[in-house]
Symmetry: C2
Subunit: 329 residues, 2 copies
Amino acid sequence: MQNDIVISTRIRLARNLKEFPFPCKLDAKGRKAVAEKVKSAVTNSNSALAQQMVCMDLDSLTKIQRANLVESHLVSPEFVADTNGRELLLTKDNSISVMVNEEDHIRIQVILPGFDLDGAYNIADKTDTLFDENLNYAFDKRLGYLTQCPTNLGTGMRASVMLHLPALQRTKAIGRIAGNLSKLGLTIRGIYGEGSEPKGAMYQLSNQVTLGISEKAAMENLKNITLQLINQEKITRERLFNSIEVQDVVSRSLGVLKYAKAISCEEAMALLSNVRMGVIAGEITDVQIEKINSLFTEVQPAAIMVKAGESLTPEKRDIFRAKLISSSL
Amino acid sequence: MQNDIVISTRIRLARNLKEFPFPCKLDAKGRKAVAEKVKSAVTNSNSALAQQMVCMDLDSLTKIQRANLVESHLVSPEFVADTNGRELLLTKDNSISVMVNEEDHIRIQVILPGFDLDGAYNIADKTDTLFDENLNYAFDKRLGYLTQCPTNLGTGMRASVMLHLPALQRTKAIGRIAGNLSKLGLTIRGIYGEGSEPKGAMYQLSNQVTLGISEKAAMENLKNITLQLINQEKITRERLFNSIEVQDVVSRSLGVLKYAKAISCEEAMALLSNVRMGVIAGEITDVQIEKINSLFTEVQPAAIMVKAGESLTPEKRDIFRAKLISSSL
């Protein structure tokens, strides 16, 4: 049931090598040396985990393919903006991605579907151990893991959940909630673009504090607040679905998604968000929730062009997107 | 092909009895005397036409049923606003309706589906003959049939076609056309409400001049201009359907009609208009044009309540209407 609202869980660990300055202070040669060291930690290991990891040649990717990596949340926009001296290690199932020479030397990221903080942390921890065994981490007994940005000092961990909160968005309750979260050491923001009304009602809730708190305590805090948010979203949805107005909006959204001949990414996400809420409420019975979940990523501009196999104007993308959606539903 | 654009054809004849003042100058007793005379003309006749006519007891109808007669274009709003001394003669197929004691003593109206001025006129003429044989019409050799309003003097005939002109409405060409029509002795107006954008893009084109012109000449004029309008509408539609934007609007309209859980009469008509255009253009293949045509009448407020069998608030009507449409399509 929690997975109706929590789309995915993410753990990110920031690590740096003792013997090198932070990436921003490194020249091309220095970055290359860091990258070789990190890669060798994987290639020298015989662990099952290391076997699954492949190094992606960023320079062989087109601009569209790189943008698609960002849309899939596997890398940051900054990471692919300049690929010089950077490396991406990736497991085949995309659950683990390691950015080398982004803001820090190593950024380990694990994404799992649904609400699974412990599961994601375990995988991240194992990946961390793989590197730790083969590299010298910059670690201070008092400060913990040293990172370029002080906000990551300590655990270097950012734990987050991707939440679908259409009811709290529709009733504007999310604004009030967001204001209170910072007092609890958490922050919430839109996943697809910032602003007061994030696209598709998709939010990322994550811990802000990394210093003076253990990984376990930070995750426990995030877990508790997430459960409260899930509860508030559920209560609000039940109330909303008592009104014919919301039932109408939800059902029409499915109609438009099925029948549109051209649709923007923004409109598609707003309608998918409505339909997703309708499927979970049992108002829409002939659509699979997994189909809706994957469409959120598939309708993104770069994903459309990767699928089309060519660069497309926004107008052509809107037509391709409409066809993709109506054939999916 | 013409019937794609001409929904129906209507002929109306205004007649008065020599021995009575116009209805507005009659008291209740006088109106009753007129009504009895007109009814006796039908009951005394053995003709097949007379046999088909039934006299409807207006006072036995509910307010909703009366409003439904107006929506079906069988009577004028004024006619049912005050039923005192008024009678309605109707054939079972609703093709002929005779209002007694509306503005004139007798208003004969014939409506046929599609573009059929001659057919409608022939039936109206036969009905006229039925009354003429049994009653004394107020007729002047110089002025022709005498009517209460001078604009009906002469033939007393108003011939009209109901046109569906979504393309000329969308391109705003209809405004320019309307301005020119008055010079040709014709007038065009919205059928469902006036204004610059008549609901459902449904227009009534009719002759304005009844004096100094024969019925035949007036109909010929209307026929020629109608053919020109049909042609302009067709050319404009072909141009419009080259754009994905219009294909998108048309297809989405069908999606919303199928999926809405509540819909106003105005929105339903606008969407039906788009879908009708799409069906005729061959863009929509799984909807019958007859279904769309009948929905234009079925979605009207009184029609909804007649079908529901009870008086409904606007909100309840919107829900009933949405169910009706989605089950129809």
